[in-house]
Amino acid sequence: MTVASLQNVEVDYARGRALGPVSLGLAAGETVALVGPSGCGKSTALRLLAGLEAPSRGEVVRATGRGETAVVFQAPTLAPWLSARANVALPLALAGVGKAEAERRADAALARVGLAGAEAARPAQLSGGMAMRVSLARALVTEPKLLLLDEPFAALDEITRRALADDVLALWVASRPAIVFVTHNVEEAVYMASRVVVMTRGPGRIAGDFAVAGPLPRPPHFRTTAEFRATVEAVSEALGQGMAA
């Protein structure tokens, strides 16, 4: 089943073509990494899938209803005046879920991302990694069918990045949403995704589409396997060709 797809989409901005033409279909439960150089339009592609932007040409088809798509941005994007709990409960509150029910589900979502006990904390009292986890909990609280992550770990240190990557995969196992995440880190892409889509430099087109073998979530030492290294090499090469194109 296809959760969402881009069909021959192109996006033009005032300064010229930003993306496309691109066609990309997402199957339910698939984890797709979108890799490409800066300015190739990968974040634009994500916003098209989220419905936050409309294409200049082509079509975006989405099989998800309201509240079934969630986005995590590069920054945690939390409301500083709200507690972690209230931030996570926000999508539910906007959808008209009662306060008690919304808070119960928010607390459960916070517990899933390892933040039980931090429900009352304000964003200013949290570390960068913790704030990102709150952001993740907010995305998960509506149990989306499509989870879009826009360079979610770019601002974090390497250790926190890796921990969060494993966390996202562990969370994926629980409800198996389709995940699309944008990154410019090839190793992260191959580690987290069952499919890596490589884009050319802007205006981005698809330069390569790689299936990544191996189970999700990844077993320990997956990064040292020959399979992992080979896929990273292949993706890197496609990326290099895309840069030259």
Binding site: G51, A121, R122
Partner: protein, 255 residues
């Protein structure tokens, strides 16, 4: 620098300046209508404390009334303007003209409109005009200051316009509103005093009138005493609003 020295430094400087002033007045035999020594000003402050306090209360009550009015008008109009681009376009030239026109130039007109029976209405109106702008522009900026990604998120979750306003735009504006009110408080005092000067005399019995009245009689010590009261008033109001701002920001940010 120790905490004690930091606390003491401004007071030490004030004491030094006052001492020098006192000594100079006595040594050079400066006439008291020209520059009274601090001791004479202190005596006047003590002797006239009751009427000075009354005058201060008059000025303060008008300034506070103006601040409240400016707050209601400024925030109300800012809210309306952020809801409607066309209204903003329509209002903008008027607000700019009103802002760049010195309040003292408008004062005589407003005095006529208020009538001689209600000079305090003119004071409040003029001080409101002055205090309006920091609150209005703070509110407009604040209502537009919401994190664009949070705005996108609200859009994604299908938030209605009033939900976005109540749950995102208004809370985002809080720090700007606090800052705007703090600046406006000082300006409300300035506006009231300017308006009192233009009103001149009669039923207006605020601190500015005391200064004017004393100047007609060449009573420099009384002028200084009223100035001291005015200074205390301004600092007290500013300090109060600053404390409110700090507390408000602490609540907003949670630390």
């Amino acid at each position: 620098m120790s905490r004690f020295a930091a606390l003491l430094a401004p007071w030490a400087l004030i004491a030094l300046l006052l001492g020098g002033w006192e000594l100079a007045c006595r040594a050079l035999h400066v006439p008291s209508y020209f520059l009274p020594p601090p001791s004479a000003i202190a005596v006047t402050l003590i002797e006239d404390w009751r009427s000075l306090l009354q005058a201060a209360a008059y000025t303060l009550s008008n300034a506070v009334a103006a601040l409240v009015l400016a707050s209601l008008l400024g925030q109300g109009l800012a809210l309306a303007v952020t809801m409607s681009r066309i209204l903003e376009r329509a209002i903008q030239p008027i607000t700019v003209v009103l802002q760049v026109t010195p309040v003292i130039a408008i004062a005589p007109l407003v005095n006529i409109w208020a009538g001689t029976d209600h000079p305090e209405r003119a004071l409040v109106a003029l001080a409101t005009i002055v205090a309006f702008f920091p609150i209005y522009s703070g509110a407009v900026t604040g209502l537009r200051s919401a994190d664009p990604d949070l705005v996108r998120l609200f859009e994604l979750y299908g938030a209605r316009r009033n939900q976005t306003l109540a749950r995102l735009r208004l809370p985002s504006a809080v720090p700007f509103l606090l800052e705007g009110h703090k600046v406006a408080a000082g300006l409300a005092i300035v506006g009231t005093v300017v308006a009192e000067f233009v009103a001149g005399s009669g039923k207006v019995q605020g601190l500015a009138w005391r200064i004017l009245d004393a100047s007609f009689k060449l009573q420099a010590a009384k002028m200084f005493a009223a100035l001291v009261m005015l200074g205390i008033l301004g600092v007290a109001l500013y300090a109060l609003l600053q404390a409110v701002e700090r507390a408000g920001l602490k609540w907003w940010r949670g630390r």
